[in-house]
Structure formats: structure tokens, C-alpha cells
């Protein structure tokens, strides 16, 4: 079908629009790209630029070999699923799905054929004559999806399509979404602030913050090798521990402990990152050089594990660690291991990843 490419997109400030700074990325056929970031990061702006609902201040948008930057939304052959679903309340489900096709003057038999196919696929057969007001939230969401699918667009755009569903339904629909879009031979761009959705659905994730692309990578790499301090702290729950430590050539100093750096650096300070789930108890007999002694100050029960807040002895530093809930941790003195393969190092000035 057609590749979607964004070239140096810029959107300067306009009323009700989050600005965007020099965004370039490509989405291949069949690729599921998620734009992930906190609210106000520019992810929705990007989606609206692709759709043509906003105009870029600078830059170009290409679908295949067409420059669509100046085209109105209706001419771009895209389909979009909105957070609120945006179903036309006065039209039946069938007419909602047919409206875009009719505008393209598609023959009625072809329209009927396509709608039949999609509605069977999504299990909407019995609902075709209902109005959106007579549907449940989950059904509306499906109709919105169906309306996008019948268009057979060059690009699918989805704007937080799960956020209006309740938690239980959301997980179920998330799995369905993955199946539905696995078969679509087009670029799919998905916007969310929910990292679980981003991780489970996407082939690639673009993390945005304050209008700037932070990292564009596979979900796995986003988690295992965050490109900077922002991505490190935004991805993963509970949050990664990030400690600003003084630096001494080959070591970072965590109180009296020396944490070895992969390479010597010439910085007075360095930021050490370690995810709570990667901290573990020191086993008896392990070299105690890297085992930190600490006092458990707080225990939060998360069900499958306990989240401990630990103060490292003789330092002002706190670490949070996920440990098995089979013991009682409260007020205990424990020793923790920092596995060197799970450590992340960031430049305290730029926030960029060092190693």
C-alpha cells in the first residue's frame, strides 16, 4: 500500500494546539506506531496534522508518493477513530459506516458488500439499524472501528480509542485491536498516554515530550534502553529509581559504595537509573562490595509483589524495590544488589543516555 512519512514537521503555538518541534518519522505498511507521552506532549497535534485537521507551520506529510500537506482531510484517504468515537448521533450504525463511502460516490452494492464484511467480522450484524444512542460504550467503540475499516484507507489513525472504556473492557478490546490491525496492510498510527497500550500493541513506539521526539524504538528497546532521563522515568511502573551521584573517574559514589561505571567519564556528576523490579536481595556468599545496606522505611503491597522504599545507610539516597511479598519487610535492614546489566547511566545536564 503506502508508507507514511513526516518530514521536519513543525507546529508553532496556536490557540488550543500543543506545539510540535521538528518531527520526522516514517511508518511502513503494516507497521503499528504508537505516539506515547504525557498530556500536552504534542502527540494529538501530530495525529491531527497527519489527518489534515491542523496545518503544519513547516514540514511535509507524505503518504506513499503523494505530498498531502496541502490536501483537505477528506482527500487524504485516511481513517480516524476518535476518543469520543464521534459517531453521527442522528444516523443509524449502517449510515455512519456508509457516509464516507457515499461521499466518494461508491456504488451502493459495493458499500453494502464492504459493510457486510466488516460488520460480520466485528460482530455488529444485529445492530445496523440502531442509532448510536441505543448502543453500549463497547458497541459504539466497535462501530467507530468499523467505520474506519470499511474505508480501506491508506493510513489508520487512532486517537486514544480505549480511554472511554471501563478498565475491564479495555483489556479485552486491546487484545481485539491487536488482532484486527495485525491483518491491515497499511501504516497505523495510534495515540495514547497509556504505556501498557503502547507496549502491547505497537511494533514501534515514539515517545514525545514538550513537542519533541524523545525516542523512536521498539517497545522492548524503549523499556530496556531508554534514550534519556525523560523516557526512563516515563516508561515503567513503578518508576525507575534515578539518583544523581558524584562521579570519580571509574566510579559513581553512592555513599560509601563505589558503583563501577562501564567506562571512565569526566563528569563531576552522573545520574544512575535502576528499575525497582531489577533490584534484588543479596544472596548469602555474594561479594558484598556491590551489596547496599539499607533500612526499609515503607512497604506498599501491590498484590503480586511488595514495593519497598529503602534508605541506603549513611546516605540521603532512597531506592524503591519490588520484592516478593512472601516475607514481612517492615523496618528490616536488608542488603540489595545492583545488577550491572540493569543499570542505566544518564548525563545530569542533557539527560541523555551515557551508556
Amino acid at each position: 500500500m503506502a508508507k507514511l512519512s513526516l518530514r521536519n514537521l513543525n507546529k508553532t503555538f496556536a490557540p488550543q494546539v500543543v506545539p510540535l518541534k521538528d518531527l520526522s518519522l516514517e511508518v511502513e505498511d503494516g507497521e503499528f506506531l504508537t505516539l506515547l507521552g504525557p498530556s500536552g506532549c504534542g502527540k494529538s497535534t501530530t495525529l491531527r496534522l497527519i489527518a489534515g485537521l491542523e496545518q503544519p507551520t513547516q514540514g511535509e506529510i507524505w503518504i506513499g508518493d503523494r505530498d498531502v500537506t496541502q490536501q483537505p482531510p477528506g482527500d487524504r484517504n485516511i481513517a480516524m477513530v476518535f476518543q469520543s468515537y464521534a459517531l453521527y448521533p442522528h444516523m443509524s450504525v449502517y449510515d455512519n459506516m456508509a457516509s464516507g463511502l457515499r461521499l466518494k460516490r461508491m456504488p451502493a452494492t459495493e458499500i453494502h458488500h464492504r459493510i457486510d464484511e466488516v460488520s460480520q467480522f466485528l460482530g455488529l450484524d444485529g445492530l445496523m439499524q440502531r442509532k448510536p444512542g441505543q448502543l453500549s460504550g463497547g458497541q459504539r467503540q466497535r462501530v467507530a472501528l468499523a467505520r474506519a475499516l470499511v474505508r480501506r484507507p491508506d493510513v489508520f489513525l487512532l486517537d486514544e480509542p480505549l480511554s472511554n472504556l471501563d478498565a475491564l473492557l479495555r483489556e479485552q478490546v486491546r487484545a481485539e485491536l491487536k488482532q484486527i490491525f495485525a491483518d491491515q496492510p497499511t501504516p497505523i498510527v495510534y495515540v495514547t498516554h497509556d504505556q501498557t497500550e503502547a507496549m502491547t500493541l505497537s511494533t514501534r513506539v515514539a515517545v514525545l515530550n514538550e513537542g519533541l521526539l524523545q525516542q523512536l524504538d521498539s517497545p522492548k528497546r524503549i523499556y530496556t534502553r531508554p534514550a534519556n532521563r525523560f523516557v526512563a522515568s516515563f516508561i515503567g511502573s513503578p518508576q525507575m529509581n534515578l539518583l544523581s551521584l558524584p562521579c570519580q573517574g571509574e566510579y559513581a559514589l553512592l555513599g560509601r559504595y563505589k558503583v563501577p561505571l562501564p567506562q571512565p567519564i569526566r563528569l563531576p556528576e552522573v545520574v544512575l537509573g535502576i528499575r525497582p523490579e531489577h533490584l534484588r536481595l543479596a544472596r548469602p556468599g555474594e561479594t558484598l562490595a556491590l551489596a547496599l545496606q539499607g533500612q526499609v522505611m515503607l512497604v506498599e503491597n501491590l498484590g503480586m509483589s511488595d514495593l519497598l522504599s529503602i534508605q541506603i545507610e549513611n546516605t540521603p539516597y532512597w531506592l524503591r524495590a519490588l520484592l516478593s511479598p512472601d516475607q514481612s519487610w517492615a523496618d528490616r535492614q536488608i542488603s540489595l544488589m545492583l545488577p550491572s546489566e540493569s543499570l542505566h547511566w544518564f548525563d545530569p545536564q542533557t539527560g541523555d543516555r551515557l551508556f
Binding site: T12, G52, Q55, P56, T57, Q58, Q70, Q71, P72
Partner: protein
């Protein structure tokens, strides 16, 4: 920065959508005012055989010494101030009552709305009949209650005529104010009153410390609307008294209408229109300025 043609296309459509409405507004509002300003510099009356003759500002200097103009301006001011004040008081009372929930509130609200919807010219005949000196029911009621000994000629007595007209206007337009204030009352969150009551405030204190301050913007907006309407009052007075007796109820609009339609003095009539327009604009600008100041103060108070 590149010009975005999509936006331009959208805006061009926008202007096409606005254009017809704009055309109507210019034709019916802007043109007549502009035309009056122009015409006010000419004499065009029976003396000039209805031909326009340029006379500069002479219409305005004539106005300065025109006692009838000043009297009509005084009448208009009195009428406006009194009727708007009375309407505010009554309207606030009605709004407060209708803001409470009770069975049949919808019906009472409909009844209270009724006077506003009826044609002023017809209502004027109704009130003329009620205040009729011989057969009027108002005199009859007062006589039966022993409040007066003989019937009063309400519309024929220069001391009473303006009050009578004001009474009719108050009846006709109080519902408008009541509705606006009721909407304002309903937008005040109930938990404010609850919090205030928990603090130990009485209903009376709540009214002064919560209701009135929060209602002030609505009160000002309603007064602004009503002020402009009352200042230009025509139909009610034209039908009830025609400006009489002896000019006791002649407002500026009645005078303008007579100048143009009865005396055929178009130039002077135009000058009267212009002066009325200026006075009204100044008053409205003042009120609007006050309103913005008040809103700004409110917003400050919220953010603090």
C-alpha cells in the same frame, strides 16, 4: 512561515457564510445611523419644501434651546431609571421564589413568563382600559378598598400619567429580568450555601454574602439590556398616551417620531436620532466598562 492554503480556504468559506448576515446588519443597522448623521447637517422640512438644504450644525444648536427636547429627555431618564429599578426589585423577588423547588413550579414559571411574550401594543390597550378614568377596574378596586374617594384620571392627569405608563412597563418586562436572574441563581452551586450554613450563617446573611455578589454580573447584564430598551420606549407610550397629557409622558422616541412623521421635519428629526444614539452609546459603554471591571475582579478572586 508558509501560508497555509487550507486555512485560507476554510476562512474564505467562513466569510461566505457570514456575508449575508453581515449585509442585513449593515443595511438595517449601520446605514440608517450613518444616514441620520449625514441628514442631521441638513434642514429638510416643510420650510424648505422638503428639499435638503445644508445648514451645518444648526439643528444641534436649535436642540440646545428646544425646551420640548429637554423635557422629553428628562421624561425618558425618569421613565428608564424608575422602571428598570422597579423591574430589578420585582424580578429578583420572583427569581428567588421560582428558584425554590415546589410542586407546580413549571406552571408558575410559564405564567410568570407570559407578560414578556405578549405584544406591547396590545398590552398597552389592556392597561389603558384598566386605568380608564370612568370604567377602569383600578379605580374601582381603590374605591372599594376606600383608598380614594373619587376616581383618578390616571392617564389624563400630568401628575399620574408617567407613573401609570411605568406601571404598565414594569408589568410587561419584569419577566425578562426574572428569567435572566433565575438562570443566574441556578448557576450558583448549592454547596456554597451549605458551606455557609455550616459556618452558621442565616438565610438573610447568605443572601447578602453569596447570592447578591455572585448574581451581580447577571443583574448588570439584565439592567444593561433593559436600560437600552427602556430608553428607546415607543410602542407602549404611543398607544397609551401618545406622549400626553401636555407632554407629561413624551419620551425622546415619541418626540422623534412626531418630529419626523407629524411635522415632517426630517433634518431635525435626524439630529434628535443622532443625539439619542450618542447618549445611549455613552451610557452603554460606561456600563460595559463596569461589567468588564467587575468580571476581571471576579476572576482575580477565583484564582486567589
Amino acid at each position: 512561515m508558509r501560508q497555509d492554503s487550507l486555512r485560507q480556504r476554510e476562512q474564505r468559506t467562513g466569510w461566505w457564510l457570514v456575508a449575508p448576515a453581515l449585509l442585513f446588519l449593515i443595511l438595517i443597522y449601520a446605514y440608517p445611523i450613518a444616514r441620520s448623521i449625514g441628514l442631521s447637517l441638513f434642514s429638510q422640512n416643510l420650510g424648505t419644501e422638503l428639499q435638503p438644504v445644508f445648514t451645518g450644525l444648526s439643528n444641534y444648536s436649535r436642540m440646545a434651546v428646544d425646551g420640548r427636547f429637554w423635557q422629553s429627555l428628562g421624561n425618558t431618564t425618569l421613565f428608564t431609571v424608575l422602571s428598570v429599578l422597579l423591574e430589578l426589585l420585582l424580578g429578583l423577588g420572583i427569581a428567588l421564589v421560582l428558584n425554590r423547588s415546589f410542586r407546580g413550579r413549571g406552571v408558575v414559571r410559564t405564567i410568570a413568563l407570559l407578560p414578556w411574550a405578549l405584544p406591547t401594543a396590545l398590552i398597552a390597550t389592556t392597561w389603558t382600559w384598566i386605568f380608564n378614568d370612568q370604567f377602569g377596574v383600578w379605580n374601582d378596586l381603590l374605591l372599594r378598598l376606600g383608598l380614594i374617594q373619587t376616581g383618578v384620571n390616571w392617564l389624563g392627569d400630568p401628575n399620574w400619567a408617567l407613573w401609570t405608563v411605568i406601571a404598565a412597563d414594569v408589568w410587561k418586562t419584569t419577566p425578562f429580568i426574572a428569567i435572566l436572574l433565575l438562570a443566574g441563581l441556578q448557576s450558583i452551586p448549592a454547596d456554597l450555601y451549605e458551606a455557609h450554613a455550616i459556618d452558621g450563617a442565616t438565610a438573610w446573611q447568605s443572601f447578602w454574602q453569596i447570592t447578591l455578589p455572585l448574581l451581580l454580573p447577571q443583574i448588570l447584564i439584565a439592567s444593561l439590556f433593559r436600560f437600552a430598551q427602556a430608553f428607546g420606549i415607543f410602542d407602549l407610550i404611543q398607544v397609551m398616551t401618545g406622549g400626553g397629557p401636555g407632554g407629561a409622558t413624551e419620551t425622546v422616541s415619541i418626540y422623534i417620531y412626531a418630529t419626523i412623521m407629524r411635522y415632517l421635519d426630517f433634518g431635525y428629526g435626524a439630529a434628535l436620532v443622532v443625539v439619542t444614539f450618542v447618549i445611549l452609546s455613552l451610557a452603554v459603554a460606561l456600563a460595559a466598562w463596569g461589567l468588564t471591571r467587575l468580571r476581571a475582579a471576579h476572576n482575580l478572586g477565583d484564582s486567589r
